[in-house]
Symmetry: C2
Subunit: 472 residues, 2 copies
């Protein structure tokens, strides 16, 4: 590592503060483009948003272009841009997306979704309201404005920057992985930065460093060759719903642990420091579950609710069906029953091995005259930023400096495909840094992004870009 004189930050941060109004105006211009990727009628709007971003990046001095994708429908283009003024410095690849969700139900919006407004919420907090405000146009622009400020003040960004902006994140994103593979030489950097996530809580910045993967199966158990009358056959004929219940009930023990042999093999707990940080952030399971109308964490007793969702694998029954499901009662003894079961996986777990263990569990539990059919769905491992990544500590410190609260490494119970795809195609760790809040109503009417999130988000990236300059 080459040490260098610390780059003067204060002038860049001051520039961000003094030019906030014009940054908001630029964001509003982008928000006015209805780039709904899933609705074919908006395909030209998606291209328009891509063009707008290309022009903005070009105006800043990036070499930027709009590239068509051709692997899968709908084929909204990618924006790719490079700023090579700092060759020799660490190279970051920034990822965001310019497409947005549909706006229905339209009548629940207090103002048209593509006419962005700056309003005060009930608590007096200023928020930007529009479709895409926080997911993800507002977050994309925090990074671009940080780059702009560096260039305006110092003529250059402290690190080498490439930008990749997708137009299909909200509609499957099937073109991203093949695109990354096709242009892997061009896009390969030292680390990826993704801005599409939330803060740890309203005042605590965070880097999402782990995601859960998923392995899912649909199972159909068949017993009799046709539906039977439960009076004539009840007791003597195997009941596929009862078999299904027995099999599914034994997937977890009384302590909430999944019982499949080898299920927990390879899993590492978060560090004691991380667990302590989470405990400080989310001391009360009941408070965390309140929004869902619940109060008791249902998973492994040795873990808090936040640990259960962020760093522990789950086994969920997502659907079940069999026999008579309508009004009233029918005494049918059905021929078959179906369940959809998914496992959220954490790093260390092997989806294929767990699929095999699951199928073996079911096969072993069935009587000889019952049949089972399996249909595989999904099968992706969990994701975790390398715990010794040299980019992690400087980024956390930059966030801590900006927010005056120790930044947290946090998890996410679901999947964010880009993280795994960037690792698979480019071999890069992705640091997911975002400034959204749980109440930003992404995907819902009246989506919003706090003005402070936007402002301090820009300032955060200004600091992160400086901090990463010495992390190579």
């Amino acid at each position: 590592m080459t040490t260098s004189t610390p780059i003067p930050l204060d002038t860049v941060l001051a520039h961000v503060d003094s030019s906030l109004d014009s940054a908001v105006e630029r964001l509003f211009n982008l928000l006015r483009i209805p780039s709904i990727s899933t609705q074919p009628v908006h395909a030209p709007d998606c291209r328009k948003a891509a063009e707008w971003l290309r022009q903005d990046l070009s105006a800043m001095g990036f070499s930027a272009d709009v590239r068509d994708v051709h692997w899968a429908a709908p084929g909204h283009p990618m924006v790719v841009a490079h700023d090579a003024t700092q060759a020799g410095k660490p190279h970051v690849l920034f990822y965001g997306h310019y497409d947005v969700q549909p706006t229905d139900p339209e009548n629940l919006w207090k103002a048209p979704p593509f006419e962005p407004r700056l309003v005060e919420d009930a608590t007096g907090r200023k928020v930007i309201v529009a479709r895409g405000a926080s997911d993800d146009k507002g977050q994309v622009m925090t990074f671009l404005e940080a780059c702009r400020a560096w260039k305006a003040v110092h003529g250059s960004i402290p690190v080498q920057v490439s930008v990749l902006l997708e137009g299909e994140e909200e509609c499957g994103g099937a073109n991203l992985l093949p695109f990354l593979k096709e242009f892997s030489d061009e896009l390969k950097a030292d680390v990826a930065l993704v801005c599409d996530t939330s803060m740890a809580d309203r005042t605590t910045p965070g880097i999402t460093t782990s995601l859960r993967g998923m392995m899912a199966e649909e199972i159909v158990i068949e017993c009799a060759s046709h539906d039977l009358h439960s009076g004539i056959y009840g007791n003597a004929a195997a009941n596929p719903i009862a078999l299904l219940c027995q099999i599914l009930a034994t997937l977890r023990d009384a302590g909430g642990r999944v019982t499949l042999p080898g299920f927990y093999d390879g899993i590492l707990d978060p560090s004691p420091e991380t667990r302590a940080q989470w405990k400080t952030l989310f001391p009360d399971d009941a408070a965390l579950l309140e929004e869902a109308g619940l109060s008791i964490a249902a998973g492994e007793k040795a873990y808090t609710a936040i640990e259960q969702t962020w760093c522990r694998p789950s086994c969920e029954i997502n659907g079940i069906s069999g026999g008579y499901e309508g009004e009233g009662f029918k005494t049918v003894l059905p021929a078959k029953a179906m369940a959809k079961v998914s496992f959220r996986l954490v790093p260390g777990q092997d989806p294929d091995k767990i699929r095999k263990a699951f199928r073996a569990h079911i096969n072993a539990a069935l009587p000889a005259d019952a049949k089972v059919t399996f249909t595989a769905h999904g099968g992706s491992p969990g994701f975790e930023v390398a715990r010794d990544s040299q980019f992690l500590a400087p980024t956390l410190k930059a966030l801590t400096d900006e927010w005056n609260v120790p930044a947290a490494t946090i998890g996410c119970g679901g999947s964010i495909p880009v993280a795994g795809e960037v690792r698979d195609a480019l071999g890069l760790d992705a640091l997911m840094v975002g400034f959204a809040q749980a109440d930003d109503r992404i995907h819902s009417p009246n989506e919003q992004y706090g003005l402070e999130a936007f402002h301090k988000g820009i300032r955060s990236w200004v600091r992160i870009l400086a901090a990463l300059a010495d992390a190579g």
Copy 2:
């Protein structure tokens, strides 16, 4: 009991044999009336069948009439007839029904369903084919022909006979119980005889002496206040499908026994003789289950398949539903899940007590932040003819004499409402004697009744009527 000179049977049986053709012709006339009770367009046909039977009974010397019912739709009339020539002798109340099932799918009938034919089946056996042949017009006429033969030869039937023929058995029969109650003084007899069941097997006559009752519940378990994303909440939020599976899986133990406290209280096993007889009739569980496409009896291991359905209570899950049940996969963590559960009950069990135990089992198993809603369905106890009924042994002996095979007391896993209603309204035991076969295709196209069943059925009743004369 008054002993009397045995009544000469042989001349009556010979009369039955020599007049079989005209008996078949009478049955054909009844079968030609399309008395489908569930289709309003056939209401006049139902009344026509009732009229036909009234006339036939009157012609034999019964005082017979057709009586309207008014408690529930559709209101097809009852036929009531009395033959009082043997006042002082035991009084039997015969029950049957003149209504039939619809005929769809019409195109699967080899000949029109209301144009009865006498044909040979694949094995050379002569069968009567028509809707209602075995369910229940053919069976009703076995009894009426036996009465006719007694009157033709001896001028009287050996016992006092009342006849009650219903027109709503195939469409709910909601008028039967209030009718029995309204006319209980008139209809009260010493024993009821019901002809609407099958033989033990093709060559073994039987009396159905026990039926299972039923208690059913629909349960809905609710956890979260709305559907959740299994990525965000999976593990920490209670899954109502998983709770439902755990609760339902523990309703039976590994040996197939229902685990509810007190569930088996009050149940008596059949006598060793009865169990031995059943073992002879149905030695092989796999053979019995073959028609259902199964081979292993799924209930309590200490009982054979036939015992499991005839004399042991069951617990069946008749329906289950929750989460995403369509094509593909959705990683929803649903807010609620539903199951329909029924218990077939045998004599001795108390439906109310079992309902309470079931609800307690579920309430005890739920976490404090889950809710359950119960909806009661059904609630009728099992039925059994008094084991010491003085009418049982003579009837069994009469059947044994006719078929040259020891007659069996058999069970039925389902319900035959008339048995319980006759007991409730009139305080009578009902002996269910029938000559149908499992392959008679009742309720299906090409319904049939063996000519031998019809012929020997008449002869069986001739013998039973004589045998009961001394059982008072």
